[in-house]
């Protein structure tokens, strides 16, 4: 019969200390709800400040938990894993959230809405991402994914405004509805896949799936079939979340309609969560899903095809976009493709570690650069939603030289020019792909990077070379978004110029 565990056993098995970065953030956020309630008219100052402090507390907890121990430890009866992979991605998520909070402060001030729940939802969504990168069980993957997504649905629908004619000028609610419908649809695929994997292996724990998977594959029974179909459905469900072709069609609409700080946040944290889960499930649990003895993992071909399609479509469609947010949406699809290249490379036995490390460096570089680019877009965008077209940036170099310089560096980094962080990420991903024997995929990646230079450089050309109407562009932004740009710029340049820094940071990461 069931015996209740002793206290000592409970303490060791639950090991709550190693879950602190995520749980502290959630606890802090719940306290912030009370602060927001009692702050009254002062809430527009106190809630964002409290949000930043909460991120700081979580950051410090993360350093304590992960810095000394390169060896992994599990928590909550094996459902949660704390290793270098989790610690690194937690830091990336926290920095991304800090930048998004700074941008949100600017956005809410200019729009004149002082709503504390905005920051609370932002922090909850980031906590979901932090649980997702630490998930060691399919149940946790699913629940954390929903904690990540549900606040983002609300944030995407946060603000719609009518113009003078009574027509909707900003399409935030529509964007939220589309995001919600596609998100719920994809979650159902994910959880159906998880159910089939559970049925095949008899467990939802990722390391235990690794143990039983070879026997399941060898048996060649109906369980093998469930495992393969379940893996495919998991890839579909998470593919929607990270926006890879052919599951990308919601991305441009949602990114364009959502408030810009929310777009910036979801283009980073949702992708981090999705890719972390994909890496854990495919590399850790299902690397033994070999259909040919001694071959590569069965999912490698599928992931390679998805990566190639994503790279080609994302980069080519971005060329024809006139709206900066839509262009960055297609560019973020393309960047998901580069991370997919690393994921495909992880399917070859022996190169899993280098590919995972490449993916992490790429995510770090993409986080700084993409948030910086969105912050610059915020500075030229009016609160009624207008002013975000590629022509509106014309002449920025004359009216705001430093801002134009920052945008140029972000565009160079997104293209992958040396001395920027984007180059280091691309270099590590392509090196891993070549090492894994996926030379064709690496060539596609390099060629599409060249294509991407076309639309990124068009932004630079518009800023520096085209004649503007003669008026100087007004400074619309507040000091907060300038800080966000400064931090993003520092990250892009530091990790680009001191290039061994990023690879040293991830050198302890191993999830295979």
């Amino acid at each position: 019969m069931f015996e209740s565990p002793t206290i000592a056993e409970f303490v060791t098995q639950s090991n709550l200390a190693s879950t602190l970065p995520g749980t502290l953030l959630v606890a802090w956020t719940l306290l912030l709800v009370l602060v927001d309630l009692f702050a009254g008219d002062e809430r527009e100052h106190w809630t964002p400040l409290g949000a930043c402090l909460g991120l700081g507390v979580s950051f410090v907890a993360n350093l304590f938990v992960y810095a000394p121990a390169a060896d992994q430890q599990t928590a909550l009866y094996g459902m949660f894993i704390a290793d270098a992979f989790t610690g690194f991605l937690n830091i990336v998520i926290l920095v991304a959230t800090l930048l998004a909070v700074l941008m949100s402060r600017d956005y809410l001030m200019r729009a004149g809405i002082h709503r504390g729940e905005y920051y609370i939802l932002t922090l909850l969504s980031s906590a979901g991402a932090m649980f997702m990168v630490a998930a060691n069980d399919l149940i946790v993957v699913f629940v954390a994914l929903e904690l990540l997504s549900i606040p983002l649905y609300i944030l995407a629908a946060f603000r719609s405004i009518k113009n003078d004619g009574g027509e909707l000028a900003l399409k935030s609610e529509e964007s939220g509805m589309k995001y919600f419908i596609l998100g719920a649809f994809s979650s159902a695929f994910l959880v159906f896949g998880a159910a089939l994997v559970y049925g095949a292996s008899g467990t939802t724990n990722i390391p235990q799936i690794l143990e039983v998977a070879p026997a399941v594959v060898d048996a060649a029974s109906s369980a093998t079939f469930y495992l393969v179909v379940g893996t495919a459905l998991l890839i579909v469900g998470l593919g929607f979340k990270v926006a890879v072709v052919p599951f990308h069609m919601w991305t441009p609409d949602v990114y364009e309609g959502a408030p810009t700080p929310v777009t910036a946040l979801m283009s980073v944290t949702a992708k981090i969560g999705g890719f972390a889960a994909l890496l854990r499930i495919l590399v850790t649990a299902l690397s033994v899903l070999l259909l040919v003895d001694g071959g590569v993992a069965a999912w490698q071909t599928t992931i390679s095809i998805i990566a190639a399609l994503t790279l080609v479509l994302g980069n080519f469609v971005a060329i024809s976009q006139r709206n900066l947010k839509r262009m960055l949406a297609y560019s973020s699809i393309a960047h998901a493709g580069y991370i997919m290249v690393a994921l495909a490379a992880a399917g070859t036995a022996g190169s899993a570690d280098s590919a995972t490390q490449g993916a992490l460096v790429y995510i770090l570089a993409y986080m700084f650069t993409n948030l910086g680019a969105f912050a610059v877009v915020m500075t030229i965008e009016r609160v009624d939603g207008g002013g975000g077209n590629i022509d509106d940036i014309t002449g920025l170099a004359r009216s705001r030289p430093l801002l134009a310089m920052a945008m140029t560096i972000f565009m160079l980094s997104l293209t992958g020019i040396p001395l920027t962080a984007g180059f280091v990420g691309k270099f590590m991903v392509f090196a891993a792909a070549v090492q894994a024997g996926l030379v064709g995929l690496a060539v596609i990646g390099v060629l599409t990077s060249v294509v991407s230079a076309f639309y990124y450089m068009r932004v630079v050309v518009n800023m520096y070379l085209r004649d503007s109407s003669g008026e100087l562009l007004p400074a619309l932004e507040t000091v907060y978004v300038r800080w966000a740009i400064n931090i993003a710029l520092a990250g892009t340049l530091i990790f680009g110029i001191f290039y061994p820094l990023a690879s040293n940071l991830v050198s302890m990461v191993s999830i295979a």
């Binding site: 529509e174 509805m177 919600f180 419908i181 159910a195 467990t203």
Partner: protein, 105 residues
Amino acid sequence: MVPLWMYLAVAAALFSLGVFGALSRRNAVAVLMSVELMLNAVNINLVAFWRYSETSTDLLLNGYAFTAFVLIVAAAEAAVGLAIIITVYRNRRSVIPEEAAALKG
């Protein structure tokens, strides 16, 4: 006893109906209902797999626990989703995503 594959067939059929509904219905509320069908298909699958697995004992409740989480998350999702759909309806008098087509390109 009813064999396992029958439960799985029912679940697969229900899931496919849900996918068909979500793709073919234009009304956002109907799409939400179809998604709920898909999630319930998952629940049938989970409980059936749990009941028929060799490790099913009173102690190993993975499948059951998973089902509970799916139910809870589905409820949370429906609450948020309906709230968003109602806001859209207030502004546009329509809950059909294609008619709310301010975003395209």
